[in-house]
């Protein structure tokens, strides 16, 4: 754990991201899909939607930290709602 100053929370954080990437790669191979056009009026695949979700979630967390400043885990609920919306409508 000393290597690169690893801590459990960051290891879990990267573990989850790595798992998401692997899951979506397997999904893309097993169930190929055609891109679709959503409310952003751009063509997106599942991978694009995952990227939009992760990037948006980072900003949601920062906004929560900057504006609310407490109860950070609740920001994750907002992120989940956001993720569902992205996968449904984008």
């Amino acid at each position: 754990m000393d290597w690169m100053a690893w801590t459990w929370p960051t290891a879990i954080f990267f573990g989850i991201i790595a798992m998401l990437l692997i899951t979506f790669t397997i999904l893309a191979i097993k169930f190929p899909e055609t891109p679709r056009v959503g409310i952003l009026r751009i063509e997106t695949t599942r991978g694009d939607r995952l990227f939009i979700t992760l990037l948006g979630s980072a900003f949601i967390n920062l906004a929560w930290l900057g504006i609310v400043g407490a109860n950070q885990p609740y920001a994750l609920i907002v992120c989940l709602v956001y993720a569902a919306a992205v996968f449904r409508w984008v």
Binding site: A5, I42, E43, L55, L65
Partner: protein, 290 residues
Amino acid sequence: MEKTVNQKAWFLVLPVLVLVAFSAVIPLMTVVNYSVQDTFGNNQFFWAGLEWFEDMLSSQRMWDALARQAIFSAIILAIEIPLGIIVALNMPKRGFWASLCLVLMSLPLLIPWNVVGTIWQIFGRVDIGLLGHTLDALGISYNYTQDIRAAWVTVIVMDVWHWTSLVALLAYAGLQSIPDAYYQAAKIDQASRWAVFRYIELPKMAGVLMIAILLRFMDSFMIYTEPFVVTGGGPGNATTFLSIDLVKMALGQFDLGPAAAFSIMYFLVILLISWVFYTVMVNLDKREGK
């Protein structure tokens, strides 16, 4: 005949993956690790949670640097893109002069950043520099080490001098790819010069112009060397852009935690804007392909 499917070729990209992991992914992960910890040196780290992010979000210093950075990028894009297009439109289309123009335009692009900085640092000096001395002789007060406006003008003019040719070359390449038939049709319709530009040249250049905007935005948003050499971020903090501030914090003060939190936010902003540009670019291409 059945097509044989063979995915083994993927192993050929393995060396690239290893290289990218060592040069980009693992350093980035280290930054994330630093951003949630505190250190007093000696490679000892203490858990700090989201404290540094909170600090940075409420730090006036970071917001000021971000504002300066955004203003700088907006100004240079507003100057370089139209200027590059104008230059490209006025360049000779073929023959000796076209080649000469291309060579001359590429010259500034070949000069390393710190050399560009040094050139302008000396060029602008009032005692020995051609620009500074001339302006001084004309009675215009110009001193980029003390006057905020002079420092900004110097840094912006330097960037325009260094990078407008890139925009011009890209726009020129876009213009060259327009078949003559378009211009002939426009002539038959007695289209004005503006109409030719608006309905033929600009749409045909849109793709390369998006690349030019993306490149110039990313480069200007990460600019470090040139302003550092010329003004050192001064006078005061007037030209301290994001990366200059970041280096001061990380290496000057050795505040690894706050600097790491700062870097992550900086990275997220660049990632977001680049993604927007990239998406627009790809969609432009698709619409053109239809």
